[in-house]
Symmetry: C2
Subunit: 453 residues, 2 copies
């Protein structure tokens, strides 16, 4: 009898890797959490037809398939385990078309976000979604997870930046969903449904992206130091309440700020000090930066401001060094709750309460303009200890109580699936799985992810 | 045996209308096309619990239900026929909450779009979707159809302006979909799926809307007269290609312009002349208006420009008088194709070809900034004659060939359902119906709409 791996090797010669190294690599994503067991193989389709062939073999042999971009996810959504095939889109990297007049681009899913934007820049264009991983993550992965970023409050989320997707279903059928026009309401909006579906509905094999023209004006950068994290959160809320719209507004709490300063060998901030890092852009950027500085000064901050690009990059470097700084503290479980932005200070109160209750520190950064927080649970050793999960449970429950969500931009994957029902409610949780079955009746696409068994 | 109407009357005392007038009224929407036969009753729920009660009765008795807002649709999506219940949301009109800090509002579905915006204005806020019907259409209807408008190219479509919806399923279950946060990716995006679902998936009983702050600056208005419609379309494309972003850019072809001038008793334009009507807004509106005027003058237009609000309204009145002017010509079938905006001039060539082939005139206006055209098929008598349907078929096929869609903002309803499969393809058309069945296994919600039997 021919095994599934033999069939793959026969039909996709040179595109199947069964080495231990390759199979070991796809057990985990950037969350560090790994699947149990070693997958059957890693396949590297080079065309839509290849993806269709893989899915037909998978359907005939009832073999689970886990689609994978660059593996930069933080929720374990692309982790692949025993008995499963890892379907890597990293060889489908073509930028098929740029249409400057229509502000659209057509891409294959494996193109790297930053490489796409490098190619768009000479045309005066960009694609707005900017996850922190943009230098290494794929556009297809950005779409499949509904990835966020720093610029979402001003420039929108992935849902706002994709007009159409091509998708291969579990049985190998290819669908062209969506449209190339600004408007289009013919039938159900499957494009929007596929965004953030984390590989449960189909394999995204192409996309028509909605582009923006590069923003003119001078980018201004501000930092604002506050005595406490609650003051910083209140300062961020005061900025948005004043009707000001920064492109970027990042908050670092005291522990984060201190860890980064230590890593970069900068002078330590005063105990408890928290920081907002803000950028404004566009034609009115200087006026907005001035107005923001006034609001923050009135809110008690010590404000620094520059319109020099190099100085701005230096100020932003502190925020960008967050993850390396966390790695110096121990192993981290990076969470991703989001709350209405007016509740940001309340959420920091909850984090302080949880730190005290569980006797842990939870260094936290937040995309303050959109209410999205990344609390970092720090612990020793490779496995998340039970008391950290308890603290995380408390965090999710608190976010939901404040009108928030358990994931703003990382997705559910395996790491948050046990809490999804609490957010959706029983009826919606079951309905969503009936929708999954409408796409994938055999349940072979990324099984067990998002919806915990 | 108790009839379904008796059960409704018993459980919803004072909220059930069985008069012939009421039942006759809900047979049609603003398209003029009417269902066959008279519905059983019109019910007016006043609460979510009422909607749930109606749907439970409908499920138990297997009675089809057609949700309805203000009945301003143009595709027959809310038309209700023999054996069906019309579920009118027009008594659920509460504005539940305005949150200026979070830029959100929570509404019941029956609130009128313009009334919502009247209530938001004192808070310095607005909800961007602006269908031409906004003075009389409901927000719930705007969401259910994915309604468009004039401002979409700059300020987005409904999908960009709704964070969450509450929906009652066919069996009476209430779901809270989406979130109140800027970002949120927990589970499948059912909110996006429900937008534009035309009553096939559930009854929208509430929504959390994403608001914008009122736009400052002086609104500038321009008109540009061109010798031909093709020149006007090319002029519009030149504006967007130059990286300029008007808030409104409307195109009227010669027949439309002439009919409106006759209606308003203005001096007739020269034969063949077509017009662009443009507005710019925001902090840089004057500079943008000046740049647009230069582009259009270079493209051969005679340009008039004003920054006076009253003069601007007067210029825009010509565009706003389109529908009354059409009514003076005969009965109209208003179509709604959308093409990539770079193909706008090509689409006008196709319309000219179809006019010639079928010996008809097709007065056409277009939202030129987003490539959405409304060709008006004019004929005598109440019924669409077969040769008009043939011409419409030619129009849809042409739009699809140019990379477009058969409906940019009106929806499929009954009037476009026979062409949907051509746009979606067989496999997607069937998949979409499996998704409908996941929501509504008995098929009692708005049956026969969108997906032609």
């Amino acid at each position: 009898m021919t095994t599934v791996v033999e069939r793959l090797q026969r039909e996709l010669d040179g595109r199947v890797d069964v080495s231990s190294v390759a199979r070991e690599n796809v057990r985990a994503d950037k969350s560090g959490h790994a699947s149990a067991g070693l997958p059957l193989a890693v396949v590297y389709p080079e065309s839509v037809a290849d993806v269709q062939a893989i899915m037909r073999i998978a359907t005939e042999t009832r073999t689970p398939v886990v689609p994978r971009g660059a593996g930069t996810g933080l929720a374990g959504g692309a982790n692949t385990g025993a008995g499963e095939i890892s379907l890597s889109l990293t060889r489908m990297t073509r930028l098929v078309e740029i249409n400057a007049d229509d502000l659209t681009a057509v891409v294959e899913p494996g193109i790297i976000n930053a490489q796409l934007n490098d190619a768009l820049r000479p045309h005066g264009l960009w694609w707005a979604p900017d996850p922190a991983s943009r230098e290494i993550s794929t556009v297809g992965g950005n779409i499949a997870t509904g990835a966020g970023g720093l610029l979402c409050a001003k420039y929108g989320v992935v849902r706002d930046a994709v007009l159409g997707v091509d998708v291969v279903l579990a049985d190998g059928t290819l669908l062209h969903c969506g449209h190339r026009t600004v408007k289009g309401v013919a039938g159900l909006d499957l494009t929007a449904l596929l965004i953030g579906s984390e590989g449960r509905l189909g394999v995204i094999v192409g996309a028509t992206l909605k582009l923006r023209r590069l923003v003119g004006g001078t980018t201004c950068t501000l930092t604002a130091l506050f005595a406490t994290v609650r003051d910083a959160a209140a300062g961020a809320a005061a900025v948005t309440a004043a009707g000001l719209q920064p492109a970027i507004m990042e908050l670092m709490d005291a522990t984060s700020l201190e860890a980064v300063h230590r890593l970069l060998e900068l002078e330590a901030p005063a105990a408890g000090q928290s920081q907002l890092t803000i950028q404004t852009d566009g034609a009115t950027s200087r006026a907005e930066a001035g107005a923001i500085a006034a609001v923050l000064t009135a809110a008690g901050a010590v404000v620094a401001m520059t319109d020099d690009a190099a100085e701005g990059a230096e100020l932003l470097r502190i925020r960008r060094s967050m993850h390396p700084a966390m790695e110096t503290l121990g192993t981290t479980l990076i969470e991703d709750v989001s709350v209405p932005r007016s509740r940001l200070a309340d959420m920091f109160d909850e984090i302080a309460r949880i730190e005290h209750a569980y006797d842990i520190t939870i260094p936290t950064v937040a995309h303050a303009a959109d209410g999205n927080l990344h609390p970092n649970f720090v612990f020793d050793g490779p496995e998340v200890p039970p008391f950290i999960w308890e603290a995380a449970d408390d965090l999710f429950t608190s976010a939901l109580r404040l009108g928030g969500t358990l994931t703003g931009e990382h997705g559910v994957g395996v790491l948050k699936s046990r809490w999804l029902k609490a957010e959706l409610g029983d009826a919606q949780w079951h309905l969503q799985q009936r929708i999954v079955s409408a796409f994938d009746p055999l349940g072979i696409l990324n099984p067990g992810k998002v919806f915990a068994p």
